[in-house]
Subunit: 94 residues, 2 copies
């Protein structure tokens, strides 16, 4: 899995901004909430198209579950638990 790439260089800065956006979205600030929703939808669609599932709804649900796992690990990384986040994602996706 490409997880380590998401914690390095430009991607690391992008995800820090993603969490900042998500935080403002969680407390219902606009336009952050609409923007985070649109970005997440694009991400789900992109990933769902790459998942081999019986139905489109199943592929979308799997994509959301994968993104939840990924975001959870990245969140721990951004709060300083980099090593454990890496092991968690490796065991969740093997």
């Amino acid at each position: 899995m490409a997880y380590p790439l998401l914690t390095e260089g430009e991607a690391d800065r992008i995800f820090a901004l993603w969490f900042e956006l998500v935080g403002q979205a969680a407390v219902h600030q606009e336009p952050q909430r609409s923007l985070a929703g649109s970005m997440l939808d694009l991400w789900i669609e992109w990933l769902a198209e790459r998942i081999d599932a019986r139905t489109r709804a199943r592929a979308r649900a799997d994509a959301i579950a994968m993104i939840a796992t990924l975001d959870g690990a990245l969140l721990m990384h951004h709060l300083g638990h980099t090593e454990v986040a890496k092991s968690a994602i490796v065991s969740a996706t093997r």
Copy 2:
């Protein structure tokens, strides 16, 4: 698992504020970063004490992985994907 309780009433509002705090922490704002770090450490300690593992380090690592999974699902819930977040957490923890 008590997951649904975390998405209702007072807990739902608390986690929205948690994600707001985490977002500011991710972009290195202070005191949010220190505060989020301390809250996360307390949460990890509380959970690690309730995990039966061979070593304390293992219990802490397991606690962080569980919190990553939980936070990932809650993040999807706070961005509007409540149903899929619930299924994801159920399959991750069964």
